[in-house]
C-alpha cells in the first residue's frame, strides 16, 4: 500500500493541489494529513474542505497547533501567525470549525503513529529540532515508525536497538528503506510553507510493502498563492517567504 502524507498545508491551495495531483499520479492508495491545515495562507476554507472530503473517504487527519489556535487562542504565536489566525477565524464556516475541533491529536494504524508535533507530549506542541528532542519521541514511541511535521524542515531520525539516535537529511525523490531493525521518526517538510531553503512543496509517500519512505518535492504556483495572501491583507512577509522557502 502506498500512503501519501501531508503536513503543514497552511491554507495554501496551490501547493496542496499540486501535491495531491502528484500523489494521484503516483497511484497512492491512502491519504494521511498531519495537521496545520490553516494559518499563514489565503485559502483556509478550500483546504479544510479538501481534507474533510478525504476524511469522509477514509483518510486519516490529526490536529495541528494552528488548527487548535482557532478555538484556543494565539498566546504562544508570533505576531504574523496570530494575525493570520484572527483573519482565518472570519473565513471558516461553523461546520469547518467543528471539523477541525473534532480532529484527534494523534492516530495510529498498523505499526505507524501519526501526530503533528512530537510523540512524547503532542499537546505541548514542542518542536523536534535536534537529536535530543528526537530521542524523547523515539523513546516514547511504541510503533516502528512515527510521522510528524510542525517544524517545516524535513528530517529523518532513527534509533538502533542499542539506543543510538541519529539524524539524516532526506533528499527529495529518493526511496529510503526503513529497516525493521530500528525505530524511525520521520519529520515531514511543509506542503504550504517550506522553510528548508527549497521553495517546492514537500510531502511524502510511505510504501508499507516495500518498507520505504520517499520525501517528494513538488513545484507549485507560488505567484498565485502569494498574490492571494497580499490581496487578503495578510502580512506581506507571509507571501515573500514562500519564494525563499524560509
Amino acid at each position: 500500500m502506498q500512503i501519501a502524507l501531508f503536513s503543514d498545508i497552511h491554507a495554501n491551495a496551490e501547493a496542496l493541489t499540486a501535491c495531491l495531483d502528484h500523489a494521484r499520479a503516483n497511484e497512492v492508495d491512502r491519504y494521511v494529513f498531519l495537521g496545520d491545515y490553516v494559518g499563514y495562507g489565503a485559502d483556509p476554507g478550500f483546504v479544510v474542505d479538501t481534507v474533510q472530503a478525504h476524511v469522509s473517504r477514509g483518510a486519516i487527519a490529526v490536529r495541528g497547533n494552528h488548527d487548535d489556535a482557532i478555538e484556543t487562542g494565539t498566546d504562544q504565536m508570533t505576531e504574523s501567525a496570530a494575525r493570520a489566525i484572527a483573519w482565518t477565524r472570519g473565513q471558516l464556516t461553523p461546520s469547518q470549525r467543528t471539523f477541525l475541533r473534532g480532529l484527534p491529536l494523534s492516530a495510529s494504524e498498523a505499526d505507524r503513529l501519526y501526530v503533528h508535533a512530537n510523540v512524547d507530549a503532542p499537546a505541548g506542541w514542542d518542536y523536534i529540532t535536534n537529536l535530543y528532542t528526537a530521542s524523547r519521541s523515539l523513546i516514547a514511541m511504541r510503533t516502528h515508525i512515527a510521522l510528524c511535521g510542525h517544524i517545516h524542515v524535513p528530517a529523518l531520525y532513527h534509533m538502533s536497538p542499542t539506543g543510538k539516535v541519529a539524524s539524516f537529511e532526506p533528499i527529495g525523490g529518493i526511496d529510503i528503506p526503513l529497516s525493521r531493525h530500528r525505530r524511525w521518526l520521520a519529520v515531514l517538510g511543509a506542503v504550504g510553507q517550506p522553510r528548508d531553503g527549497d521553495s517546492a512543496a514537500c510531502y511524502a509517500i510511505l510504501d508499507d510493502a516495500r518498507e520505504t519512505l520517499t520525501y517528494m518535492r513538488v513545484p507549485y504556483d507560488i505567484d498565485n498563492a502569494a498574490r492571494k495572501i497580499r490581496a487578503a491583507g495578510l502580512p506581506a512577509r507571509l507571501a515573500d517567504r514562500l519564494y525563499a522557502g524560509r
Binding site: 516502528h144 536497538p161 543510538k164 541519529a166 539524516f168 528503506p177 525493521r180 531493525h181
Partner: protein, 487 residues
Amino acid sequence: METFLTDAAPAPTPVHDVRRLRVGETIDGFHLEEALPPGGMASFWRVTHPDFALPLIMKVPLLRPGEDPITIVGYEMERMILPRLHGPHVPRFIAAGPFEQPYIVMEFISGTSVKELIAETPLAPGRVAAIGVQIAFALHDIHRQHVIHLDLKPSNVFLRSGEDAVLIDYGLAHHELLPDLIAEEMDEPVGTGPYVAPEQVLRDRTDPRSDIFALGVILYFLATGERPFGEPQRAAEWRWRLWRDPFPPRAWNPNILPWLQEIILHCLEVDPERRYATAAQLAFDLQHPSEVALTARAERIARDGIITVALRRFRASRGSAPRPRKRVSGVLTRAPIVVAAVDLAGDGALADAVRASAERILAADPSARLACVNVLKIARLAIDPWEDEQGRNRHLQRMIELKHWARSLLVDPARLTYHVLEATDPGAALVDYARNNNVDHLVLGARRTSAVRRHLGSTSAHVVAQAPCTVTVVRTGRASGAEAPEA
C-alpha cells in the same frame, strides 16, 4: 541483544532458526543446496529457486544475543545498498528476508577472488596493472552510483572469467543518498586493518578516495607480496599510517617499474586531496603506463627519515581542522577525464578553437585531466614490414605535432597525456576510446559542411550520436562567405 522492538513489531515467530539451517531446507522458495565456508558475521549457502536460473548465494547474518551490533547494522546497510546497485561490477540482488528471518539472496559470482592471487605474489607489473584497471573500473562504476565501498580488500574482489571485477560485501559501505547507520552506531572506526584509509581511521566515511587508498594497498600487495602497513590488529595501530609511510614498492621488488610505483604511492597518499581524484583517472594511468607523469614518488627507494616522520606524528597528534563533508557525486563531477580530439591535418583555426575550449573546461575543474588525442587514419589494419616502419614514422610525427599543439595550453603538464590512435574509422575510434577510458567529456572540432559530409555523415555527428559522454562540438566563427551555402 536488548530489543525494544519486541513491543513494537509483531512478536518474532522464526519459521526457521537461522542457527540451525540444514541442507535440504527451503526458505521462502530458496532451496539450500550446500553450506559454504562461513564468514565472521554471516553464514553462506548455495541456494536454488525455481524462478531463477542463475547461480545464487544466500547470506544469513549471525544475529545472536550479545552479538556485536556491527553484525545487524552491516546487514541493514547491505540490505539497503545492494538492491540499488546495478551493472556487471556488483552481484545482482535477488531477495531479502523479512524482519523475523534476515537473509540476502544474490547472484553467486563464479570466478577467482583476488585473495587467491596472493599465493602467486609478487605478480609481474603488467599483470598488477591489468587487475588494477578492472578493480578501478568497478570502483568508478559504484562511485557513479553514489556508493563508497569502504571495505575493499582482496577477499571482496572477484574477477569474473570475462575479466570484469565484481565487488562484494556492502555491509560497511556508504550511500550518499541514504542514512549511514554505521557512522552513528560505531564509536570506533570500522574497516579491515591493512586496507583502511587514513580518513577512515579519523571516522570520515564520505570520501570516495578512501576506496582508491584501499586499491593502492591491494596493488602494493600484488606487486610486492607485502602489505604496506602490515596487519595491525588493534584500531589504535591503524593511526600509524597517518604519519608512517610504507617502504616504497621498489624497495621490496626491484622489478617494479617507476610508473607502477608512482601509481601505487599516488593512491597511498595520506591526504585524499593528493590521491587520484577518481578511480577513472587511476584506471587511465594504469592503461597508459608511458603517459604516467613521474614525480619524486617514482624514484623513492627508502622510507622517510625519522625526523620527518616524528614531525608528521606531532602534527597528527594535534588533530586537524574538520574536513568539509564531501559528496561522492561532487568529487566525481569535479574530476572529469576530458578528451580533446585534435585534427592536425586540417584547419589550424579549428585546432586553436578546440584548444581554447578544452582550456576553459580544465580551468573550471582543477582536478580534471586532459587527454590530447589525434586519430591517424589508415587504409587498413594489416600492413607489411616496410609499411610498418613508415607507419611508425607517421605515428611519431603525429605525436610531435600533437605535443606542439598542446604546448601553448596553460595547464600543469602532469594533467596532460598524449595519444595517437590508428584507425580506419576516426569516429568509431574516438567512441571506443571514450568508452574504454571512462571519458566524461569529449571536445572535437567540426569542419565546415560539404556535400560529401552531408551524405556520408561527419565524424563529429557520429561521435555525438555514439559517445557515452558529454560531447562539445567546436566550430570556428563564420567568416564572410565561409559557410558553404546549401546546394
